[in-house]
């Protein structure tokens, strides 16, 4: 398989961060058509890496080649033309006043004629199932719907590469599932190469390959099966345990018997409310240090 992205010895330091490298000699390739997940804890440099690939960060060391074009200040717009990027906060990437305006934003920037634009906006909205929302304002949409509009914006410009920069991390479980499902589908129909930067275990599991970043260094590169088979240690460097599981573990550490598995946040909430009510009606001193 041909490489669509080649990253060689990429290093980056944020201004005023002392000796600490946000990225430290990172090298890897992305194959055409694959789904690559990049995982790592907060501050591991994974978002920095995504931005560097899109030419949003002026790195000085190393090279990035996208679709045969080496990234430089002269070629940055040619590189960006091949990449569609979805960011974490659904609100902060919604530029247009309505859904249709927002999908058209990328096309307007590329000076696409209006007649073509209308067709492509409609087609893109149909692909993500948001046609009936075309004239809605962002304030009336849920986070998941806004991310779908962002995906429609990517579909409209038909790039070769889609980068998801923690695109599902601010969504509720349902919204997250819907967006991931849509990405899987678009990847097939649009022949996209997907790079997803994530904390989410499901999102990482749908990848063909996982890169694990720690402190700006690439520490592992393998298939999800290999990485998950290694046990919890490696997963914990990169992936976030869901919040409810973390909360339950913390409660258990304090001697409160929380049930072992919660499927949803609602179940956790219901259990918490119930147990709080119980303790307030029948106060006990057990479990307190």
């Amino acid at each position: 398989m041909a490489n669509i992205i080649e990253v060689q010895q990429l290093s980056y330091q944020y201004p005023d961060s002392g000796d600490r490298h946000a990225l430290d000699r990172v090298s890897f390739d992305v194959h055409q058509g694959e789904w690559l997940a990049i995982v790592g804890h907060n501050g591991s440099g994974k978002s920095t890496l995504a931005r560097a690939i899109d030419g949003l960060l002026p790195f000085k060391e190393g090279t990035v080649t996208v679709g045969g074009i080496q990234l430089s200040p002269e070629t940055v717009w040619d590189v960006r033309a091949q990449i569609g990027m979805i960011f974490q906060n659904p609100d902060n990437q919604f530029v247009g006043a309505t859904v249709a305006d927002d999908v058209a934003f990328g096309l307007e920037n590329r000076q696409v004629p209006r007649a073509t634009m209308q067709k492509r906006v409609q087609a893109a909205l149909a692909k993500v199932g948001m046609t009936q929302f075309a004239h809605r304002e962002p304030a009336s949409l849920s986070g998941g719907q806004k991310q779908r509009v962002a995906l429609a914006g990517v579909v409209a410009i038909a790039p070769k590469i889609l980068i998801l920069d923690e695109a599902t991390s601010m969504l509720d479980p349902q919204g997250r599932q819907a967006v991931l499902e849509l990405v899987r589908e678009l990847r097939q129909t649009q022949q996209l190469t997907v790079i997803s930067i994530t904390h989410d275990i499901d999102e990482a599991a749908s990848a063909d390959r996982i890169l694990v970043l720690d402190d700006g260094r690439l520490i592992e590169e393998a298939t999800p099966a290999t990485i998950f088979a290694r046990g919890t240690a490696l997963i914990q460097t990169g992936l976030d345990v869901p919040f409810t599981v973390k909360l339950a573990a913390e409660l258990r550490a304090r001697g409160i018997a929380a049930p072992q598995d919660f499927q949803t946040t609602e179940e956790m909430e219901a259990w918490l409310c119930q147990s709080l009510l119980n303790t307030s009606t029948t106060p006990t001193k057990q479990g307190r240090p």
């Binding site: 096309l107 307007e108 920037n109 000076q111």
Partner: protein, 266 residues
Amino acid sequence: MSKFIFGRYLPLNSVVHRLDPRNKLLLSFCYIILVFLANSWVSYLILIILTLGAIAASKIKLGFLMRGIRPLIWLIIFTVLLQILFSPVGGQVYWHWAFINITQSGLINAGFIFIRFLLIIMMSTLLTLSTQPLDIATGLASLMRPLRWLHVPVDTLAMMLSIALRFVPTLMDEAQKIMNAQRARGVDFGEGGLVKQAKSLIPLMVPLFMSAFNRAEDLSTAMEARGYQDSEHRSQYRILTWQRRDTVTWIIFGVGLVLILISRRW
């Protein structure tokens, strides 16, 4: 806030709502000229008929629109009083004390000013009630296009205006969330003296500003990632089209203009 109708948009489906926003802006501007051309009772009567006709065509209830005038009533009364008390001597003098004269011409002028105020406020309220803020922004940008020759960054200004309007509900939401969070910690908004009220806004403004700056930074990154370089070299998705009903409004305006020119005192 909710009492303030001026500047709000009321979504209805009427001819006035469907007019080209550029046309509505131009019409409103020329209407103000018309208001200042009128100087006789008959000419004002013609204007009132025109205005009521426009309101009727917009399907907006007159009572609702009049409520928009209420917050401005003190400004109107103040101006009218100034006109009555300090107008130059002319016509019959009804009352005189020191430098204050209440004269016939003063009273008539005050009446005219009252009507002028009322008409202009009614028409501009009608403009904002029947036009979405974004359409007003697009219309303004389109009308200012000739200023490009003077190197005014019209497209950039239009982009800024449209983004600002798009983020109004987002930031309002945010402000509400922060207020609720502060209330949960015992802050009282809208209680106590003026100084205390102003002080209680500080824990609201600081996080709100921080979040707005963060949003601005995220948004600029996202815009750049989506290929935004500058506002000049872009095509337009949202365009305005001049339709027959827009031409019809100018025929009506022309008839009004002729009638007022005939009936005004020269």
